[in-house]
């Protein structure tokens, strides 16, 4: 076993047991129990899923502006959904459903938590691996099975499901409805597997954070990234079990003749359905009890990365570290008591709606604290405008833009008007979709040198940032206006309906589609930069190229097996000791003793 050289920044450390390295290709790269390999596996799965999901969104946009146009390749791939290459309305709904499902589960849930969390949480707390490495491997492969089931739904008879990523019954619960066949069943099974994978992963993250921290690394010294991964894991633990239960009930309704969600007296395609007494609203309650925390599962890690990077590149301490921690916790707790705001139009007692509305407004408080503190962190900093920093600032911008429309939608009276319009599409894409994606971009750009020992191309990164930033605002900005017209969402076609053409709506839809095509094209620039840099990027030999403070920057790039090679650094300070008055440098690493920071034996040289 090769000796691992810790950076001389490490003042003291503890020697612990080392684990043998895996020998075979399979144990090293396929069924690996190493959290770093598993993290990269999650990231790759998310990248594949993101490009599939993006392709689906392109189809959705194309269908909206050219409903009659024939795309020969679609005719070959989906002879039923797109006969002669012309997309049917059912096909449009199926693409919409799959886009949402793939993006929410396979991208927004896997990459920030399973990808970056897996890779960096153990290193940032000074551990050799997760608490339960084998369980970690099982989590990933269960996720992979889930992804495979979801992909299979495209190719079965009846095609992909079309009940939306929310799977609302009765459409999702009655096989006789529309052209749906086994696709919806595959969707439910996929989600069930995903729930199990996420529960196992959440368990692992929580135990790792509580039990594996290095000496001196108290909870209030944790990097905010770790805090957000930790809270995200708690949300996952409490939310995914509920979705699993709901999924089981839905599957039984479809296949075993029970009536949990299917009401009586339902007639589908002139045929009476043999169910009675169930309630679709019951599904909505169960689903959104999961669904709202899920929003925070997607966005919290992005918040953590943003806080982390703003401090690092502004060379300042995180403004209000404790407030940030409490805000994350508050968002997590409040996230469980606001699910009703997704259901204002489903029919709800005005009193319940009022309570859900007030609780929803309450989330504005911790969100505002976070935004305030991000700006406070930037204020007066000596900002280094690197590409990860640009992505982080982009995150703040998108978070604010998307969050403000949330205050509108949290009012039942306004939501009644906006709920089924493009206003909602704009809102959740900005805050949950694109903001979270910018968090991932920031994470990739920031940690790439550590993960692969090479640099990504900085100029390409900046070009990609600006194009994407402008692109997403061009897509989702006009949707707010469309929503106010109001243009209903989930409609496969607007042409030929006169009242939907007023206010320049037709031209706007055309503009949005062009903007989407542009933004999607730009993502290939990122993919190119990512893949090229893995193999041919400029080598990064330094342990700490960004002059950051946390523990992952004390070990070689890429990190060796066992991370610290059996040496756990001791921690003496918080995560963001930048620009300490009287210090020799403008940053103090967590493993620096005071003597090393202020004088005495010089550290690092």
């Amino acid at each position: 076993m090769t000796e691992v050289e810790l950076s001389p920044e490490v003042s003291e450390y503890t020697e612990v047991h080392r684990h043998p390295e895996p020998k075979t290709f399979i144990s090293k790269w396929i069924f690996s129990v190493d959290h770093k390999v598993i993290g990269i596996q999650y990231l790759l799965l998310a990248v594949v899923a993101a490009f599939v999901g993006m392709g689906l969104s392109l189809l959705v946009r194309l269908r909206l502006v050219w409903p009659e146009k024939s795309f020969a390749i679609l005719g070959d791939l989906f002879p039923v959904g797109a006969p002669d290459g012309v997309m049917t309305p059912e096909f449009y709904l199926a693409m919409l459903t799959m886009h949402g499902t793939i993006m929410v589960f396979m991208v927004l849930t896997t990459a920030p938590q399973g990808g970056f969390g897996n890779y960096f949480l153990p290193i940032q707390i000074g551990a050799a691996d997760m608490a339960f490495p084998t369980l970690n491997m099982l989590s990933f492969w269960t996720t992979f099975v889930s992804f495979s089931f979801l992909m299979a739904a495209f190719f079965v008879e009846g095609g992909a499901p079309m009940a939306g990523w929310t799977g609302y019954p009765p459409l999702s619960a009655v096989p006789e409805a529309a052209v749906q066949g086994i696709g919806q069943d595959l969707w439910i099974v996929s989600i069930a597997f995903f729930c199990i994978a996420s529960l196992l992963a959440a368990l692992n993250f929580i135990v790792t954070t509580l039990d594996m921290r290095a000496k001196g690394l108290t909870m209030m010294r944790l990097p905010l990234t770790v805090w957000t991964w930790f809270v995200t894991a708690i949300l996952g633990l409490l939310a995914f079990g509920v979705l699993l239960a709901a999924g089981v009930l839905l599957l039984m309704d479809r296949n075993l003749g029970t009536s949990f969600f299917v009401p009586g007296g339902l007639v589908v395609s002139d045929k009476a359905i043999d169910h009675s007494g169930g309630s679709p609203i019951l599904w909505q309650h169960l689903f959104w009890f999961f669904g709202h925390p899920e929003v925070y599962i997607a966005i919290l890690p992005g918040m953590g990365v943003t806080s982390h990077l703003l401090a690092t590149f502004a060379r300042k301490q995180v403004y209000g570290y404790k407030a940030m921690v409490y805000a994350v916790a508050a968002i997590g707790i409040l996230g469980f008591v606001v699910w009703g705001h997704h259901m204002f139009v489903s029919g709800m007692s005005p009193y319940s709606a009022f309570v859900f509305s007030v609780l929803t407004m309450c989330i504005g408080v911790p969100s505002a604290i976070k935004t305030f503190n991000w700006i406070g962190t930037l204020w007066g900093g000596r900002i280094r405008f690197t590409s990860p920093m640009l992505y982080s600032i982009g995150f703040v911008s998108l978070f604010v833009s998307g969050g403000l429309s949330g205050i509108f939608l949290g009012q039942p009276t306004i939501d009644l008007y906006f709920h089924d319009t493009y206003f909602v599409v704009a809102h959740f894409h900005l805050i949950m979709g694109v903001a979270a994606i910018f968090g991932m971009f920031a994470g990739v750009a920031f940690w790439f040198p550590k993960m692969f020992g090479r640099w990504m191309d900085e100029s390409l990164g900046k070009i990609h940032f600006w194009c994407t930033f402008v692109g997403v605002y061009a897509i989702f900005g006009p949707m707010h206006y469309l929503g106010m017209l109001p243009h209903p969402r989930r409609y496969a076609e607007f042409t030929g309906v006169d009242y939907l053409q007023t206010g320049g709506a037709g031209d706007l839809h055309y503009f949005i589609t062009v903007a989407a095509m542009f933004t999607i094209t730009v993502q290939f620039l990122f993919l190119f930069n990512f893949v090229k840099s893995i193999f041919a990027g400029k080598p990064c030999t330094e342990a700490n190229p960004w002059e950051a403070t946390t523990l992952e920057w004390t070990i070689p790039s890429p990190p060796p097996h066992d991370n610290f090679g059996g040496k756990v650094p001791h921690v003496y300070r918080g995560s963001y000791d930048f620009s300490l008055p009287g210090a020799k440098r403008d940053f103090a690493m967590q493993c620096n003793k005071d003597e090393a920071v202020y004088g005495g034996a010089a550290a690092g040289d």
Binding site: P8, E15, L199, V207, T258, G278
Partner: protein, 221 residues
């Protein structure tokens, strides 16, 4: 950046899991403390913490089913209350006894008697199988009364909740099977105490969960 070799200020040797008993170490506090991450005591704590967290997830699963049941029972007039089969009380007794036998296995482990551990684990697994068989008989008794899964929502939840608990118990049986296999060479098994402690904790939780479910089925009509 040059690298210098530092001498460790504190050294932890691998705990004597190779043949020795449990290592006596000061109680481990979260984060810090001087006991190492690989001492048996720390492993036991980590595994038990894992089970406790897992229990949280399982509770949410059954809480969701409970709330669905409560809501569904009030939705329409197709809810037909029924008496739970008497055999469930037998299975409850069997399950409770099995917790004591597993506790017996844990006692033998502390005493270092690995043959005894295997014996008690065998007994526990047997009782677990009897429990599951009783549950199946309960299903049979219900279907003989003409109550099937889709007959009415009360029946649906009966089958669903018992099956859900049964599957979780089956997971516990798998854990026992793992213990049983590994106990043949306990000296080469570093996590032996931790796994047995964790399995015992999980098994006891299965008791509590079952009593809750039985109460729900018997009294929420």
């Amino acid at each position: 950046m040059t690298t210098t070799t530092l001498t460790p200020t504190e050294t932890q040797t691998e705990p004597t899991t190779n043949g020795g008993g449990t290592v006596a170490r000061p109680p481990h506090r979260y984060g810090g403390g001087s006991s190492g991450p690989f001492s048996n005591r720390a492993l036991i704590q980590r595994y038990k913490l894992g089970v406790w967290i897992g229990v949280g997830g399982i509770i949410m699963f059954f809480a969701a089913l409970t709330s669905a049941m409560v809501v569904r029972s009030g939705l329409s007039n197709d809810w037909k209350p029924f008496d739970v089969p008497w055999i469930l009380f037998l299975s409850t007794a069997v399950l409770l006894v099995s917790s004591f036998t597993l506790e017996g296995a844990r006692r033998r482990m502390i005493a270092g008697d690995w043959t005894g551990v295997r014996l008690w684990v065998n007994g526990t697994a047997a009782l677990g199988s009897v429990f599951l068989a009783c549950q199946l008989l309960g299903w049979q008794a219900l279907s003989e009364r003409g109550f099937f899964l889709a007959s009415n929502p009360a029946n649906s939840f009966y089958y669903l909740l018992t099956a859900g608990h049964g599957l979780h118990l089956l997971g516990g049986m798998l854990a026992l099977g793992y213990v049983w296999m590994r106990v043949r060479a306990p000296q080469r098994w570093a996590t032996r105490e931790a796994v047995i402690e964790a399995a015992a904790l999980y098994w006891h939780f299965m008791d509590v969960l079952w009593i809750y479910i039985l109460g729900l089925l018997a009294f929420w009509r």
